[in-house]
């Protein structure tokens, strides 16, 4: 240390400060464990007892026990300075499905009507599936993004969809969070006539399978929707509707 201080004049100060800090800590330690009679200089203080205790079912008389070791004198074991505290209750025992509840609560908060949940629910036969063409509208302005759904990542409130389209002959892929407050609308533009036999249609990135631009599908969908809205029933054939004309033709073969 002397050599060090000769080299770095400030080094010695640092050392002094460090030592002072250590001493302070040590003093605190001895004071904290002063109630225990058996104390040695090398004893490590017991870990602080858990501050937050569950309200009921918790042992009220939380007595600190000390670790005991055998001694040579039979019947007189040696009590050590190491305190042994009763084990705290695990959070899982109190709330076994905390994460599930949290997801459910968040989904309820972000999707009040339950429409989004239904749109991607596996139980719903009219749900959007990989291979369908979807359109996502955001409140960020700009054009809504339409594209073929390559995959649905189901992860509670983090559920997201991957849409692919070609803009100016360049493939563009967008991930959207289904429950995001910035996503104001998700609509099914076109349904795949036959169910995709994969959950993730990554092969559709290959030129052989690429759908290309889906603008013609969007245009056709918009036209049908305009017919419906100008006609009598605005509710028919919309976003949770049955398969379009294309799908019917294929099915009836």
């Amino acid at each position: 240390m002397i050599i060090q201080s000769a080299r770095h004049p400030l080094g010695s100060w640092k050392a002094v400060l460090r030592r002072a800090q250590q001493q302070q800590q040590f003093l605190l330690r001895t004071m904290a464990t002063a109630t225990t009679t058996t104390i040695t200089n090398t004893s490590i203080p017991p870990p602080p007892p858990p501050s937050s205790k569950p309200k009921s079912g918790w042992v009220k008389s939380k007595k600190v026990k000390f670790h005991v070791i055998k001694s040579t004198v039979p019947g007189k074991p040696i009590r050590t300075a190491f305190a042994v505290y009763p084990r705290g209750h695990s959070a899982r025992a109190i709330n076994p499905e905390a994460l599930k509840t949290f997801h459910a609560q968040q989904i309820k908060r972000l999707d009040k009507t339950g429409a989004r949940t239904a749109l991607f629910s596996k139980a719903n036969p009219d749900a959007a599936k990989p291979g369908d063409v979807l359109q996502v509208t955001t409140n960020r302005g700009g054009e809504p993004f339409a594209g073929v759904c390559l995959s649905i990542r189901r992860a509670g409130v983090d559920t997201a969809i991957l849409l692919r389209n070609q803009l100016t002959k360049i493939g563009v892929e967008m991930w959207y969070k289904v429950y995001s407050p910035t996503v104001t609308g998700i609509e099914i533009i076109w349904r795949r006539p036959k169910r995709a036999r994969r959950a993730r249609l990554t092969y559709m990135r290959k030129p052989k399978h690429d759908m290309g631009n889906v603008d013609h599908l969007v245009e056709a969908w918009r036209r049908t929707r305009n017919v419906f809205t100008s006609g009598k029933g605005a509710k028919a054939g919309q976003h949770l509707g049955r398969p379009g004309k294309h799908a019917k033709g294929k099915r009836g073969r």
Binding site: T138, R140, G142, E143, F145, A160, L167, T168, K169, I170, G171, V172, E173, M174, W175, Y176, K177, S180, T182, V183, R205
Partner: protein, 131 residues
């Protein structure tokens, strides 16, 4: 993830077709949409196999030129503040001069909307669409 030696498409009409990244300006990490790089023109637009003919007369840059460029599309996913993610099928850039003005006069192809946040509005206004 644009770094040293990455080959990018140049999507403006400056005359470059393919450029190679030589340096990411101002940071030590890989570059993404909206970042500035130094690029070397590797292939000219309109240049035939026999050599540079009359077609390259209108080109503002030629093969071997070292220019600054702004990345406008990446194959690597880029996350937006709202949690959505965008990814393009290629890496593309637009050449600029030292002052930050585009060398070309038009941009062919979609560009990332991250350019707005990075204040490259001149490129954004030249692009036909942004995603």
């Amino acid at each position: 993830m644009i770094q040293l030696k990455t080959m990018l498409n140049c999507i403006d009409n400056s005359g470059a077709a393919i450029v190679e990244c030589a340096l990411v300006v101002g940071q030590k990490r890989h570059a993404t949409i909206g970042d500035r790089i130094v690029a070397i023109v590797q292939k000219q637009r309109g240049a035939t196999d026999a050599g540079m003919g009359a077609a390259s007369a209108a080109n503002k840059v030629k093969r071997g030129d070292i220019r600054h460029a702004i990345i406008v599309r990446t194959k690597k996913k880029v996350q937006r503040p709202d949690g959505s993610v965008v990814r393009f099928d290629d890496n593309a850039c637009v050449l600029i001069n030292k002052a930050g003005d585009p060398i070309g006069t038009r941009v062919n192809g979609v560009v990332g909307a991250e350019l707005r946040r990075r204040k490259w509005s001149k490129i954004l206004s030249m692009a036909p669409t942004h995603a």
